[in-house]
């Protein structure tokens, strides 16, 4: 081991110069790689999103970003952050230009981490017509059954999310019920043994639909004519 006396005294200027040199080189490298990868990363993100949307809305061919705010809906094209009070959603159009459906994200705490899902909304029937998982870290073989369990996915073929008369809230809150006890079209039949994850899906959809649909539903016509 060297004692403090062995360290040669370095002038302060040299240390500052060395750190400045390292920082300059590193700065150039980081900004360079950011510029080079910007286009492919954005293209990848758009592709991944479209893939998710097409999964929950099989008729969709193109996807457009929107924000729903208290005063109406506005385009969110290219905007990364969602402003306070606004909810991001995706309008999907079929090949002939008609509105194929709406997709939006829902997230809630699952067993291990946030369960983030994307759901498809049919504004004509006012139902949720399909879900897909964006990301989750649920236990393999237990919680991740929400991806494949046929009985569970059957809940989301026509999950009722119609609004109340005054269009302020859902007429009936979406609720996850014990396996085998589903009675109403707004209830989700949980997977036996994966109740925590099933409940997270229900809670996420309820929170997202309560926030989004009252802002969105009165303006759906605007989306229809947009394309």
């Amino acid at each position: 081991m060297s004692t403090p006396n062995d360290i040669p005294t370095t002038p302060g200027g040299k240390m500052v110069f060395a750190l400045g040199l390292v920082a300059t080189i590193c700065g150039v490298i980081i900004v360079g790689i950011f510029q080079v990868t910007l286009a492919p990363v954005n293209a990848n993100k758009k592709l991944a999103l479209e893939r998710q949307v097409f999964k929950v809305l099989p008729n969709a061919k193109t996807v457009v970003d929107y924000f729903a705010t208290d005063s109406g809906i506005e385009s969110a094209d290219g905007k990364e952050t969602t402003p306070a009070g606004a909810v991001r959603f995706y309008a999907a159009y079929a090949a002939d230009g008609s509105l194929a459906g709406i997709a939006a994200e829902a997230s809630s705490a699952g067993y291990a981490d946030q369960v983030r899902i994307l759901y498809g909304y049919d504004p004509v029937k006012q139902v949720i017509s399909g879900i897909g998982v964006i990301s989750m870290r649920e236990t393999p073989g237990i919680g991740d059954k929400i991806l494949v369990d046929k009985d569970f996915l059957h809940n989301f073929e026509a999950l009722d999310v119609s609004l109340s008369q005054d269009l302020k809230l859902l007429a009936n809150a979406v609720k996850t019920v014990k396996h085998g006890s589903k009675q109403s079209p707004w209830e989700i039949d949980a997977i036996a043994g994966a109740t925590v994850t099933s409940k997270a899906v229900g809670r996420g959809i309820n929170a997202s639909a309560q926030a989004l649909l009252p802002k969105l539903y009165p303006h759906v016509e605007q989306l229809r004519s947009a394309k």
Binding site: M15, A18, C26, F34, K45, A48, P140, G141
Partner: protein, 215 residues
């Protein structure tokens, strides 16, 4: 050491003799966390190899310009730079892979293998020797991750590189792809390597004693 080791020796040191996973037991955080499949293991290993090689090369090139007092700060900045490079590169290559590796790409910066190599080797050796040594260490790390990840994927999911190995009757041994499985498999590999090493030592000791007896 009387003579500077050749580039080949530098390369083989990390790959086998000083394997970061099985001999030095460094960088256990990614080793445990991402080795649930062979693909994840290879990707993480190669990402680490790139960061290790690039940062050791740059550190070695700058070694005379960096005073001892500010070396740690400089090394960390350089390592963090290349971690950022890898982070963007993986996002550009595949978002699925990016999701699978999650926070562990950014955590390469805190992998003690990197700062350890920078301090113990790159700061004292010429660029080519550092590059070879770092690449060997990185590939040794990749090999270690693959040994663990391959076994965990086979036992826990019945697949290898995503290809199903067994029929439909296979019941996955789920605990193997959960965190405890990482510790089990790591322990088994450490036992295997330790047994192999002690056996080799005993063999050479026996050999020496028989030589002595003859003399």
């Amino acid at each position: 050491m009387s003579q500077a080791p050749s580039n080949f020796d530098e390369f083989m040191e990390g790959l086998w003799k000083q394997n970061p996973v099985f001999v030095m037991v460094l960088g256990m955080c990614p080793t445990m966390a991402i080795t649930v499949s062979a693909v994840n293991s290879i990707s993480m290993g190669l990402a680490t190899t790139f960061v290790l090689s690039a940062s050791c090369l740059l550190i070695s090139l700058l070694r005379s310009a960096i005073p001892k007092q500010v070396r740690i700060a400089s090394y960390i900045v350089i390592i963090a730079t290349f971690v950022t490079v890898v982070d963007y590169a993986i996002q550009a290559i595949s978002l699925d892979l990016y999701e699978a590796l999650g926070a562990y790409i950014k955590l390469i910066v805190a992998n003690c293998l990197l700062l350890g190599r920078a301090e113990a080797h790159a700061a004292k050796n010429p660029p080519m020797a550092s590059l070879w040594n770092a690449t060997g260490m990185g590939l040794g790390f990749t090999f270690g991750l693959l040994c663990i990840g391959g076994v965990r994927e086979i036992l826990g999911a019945g697949k290898f590189f995503g290809i199903a190995l067994f029929g439909d009757h296979f019941q996955p041994w789920v605990v193997m792809v959960l965190p405890p499985g990482g510790f089990f498999i790591m322990a088994v590999w450490l036992i295997v390597f330790a047994a192999w090493r002690s056996r080799k030592q005993r063999a050479s000791a026996d050999h020496a004693s028989t030589e002595e007896a003859k003399a």
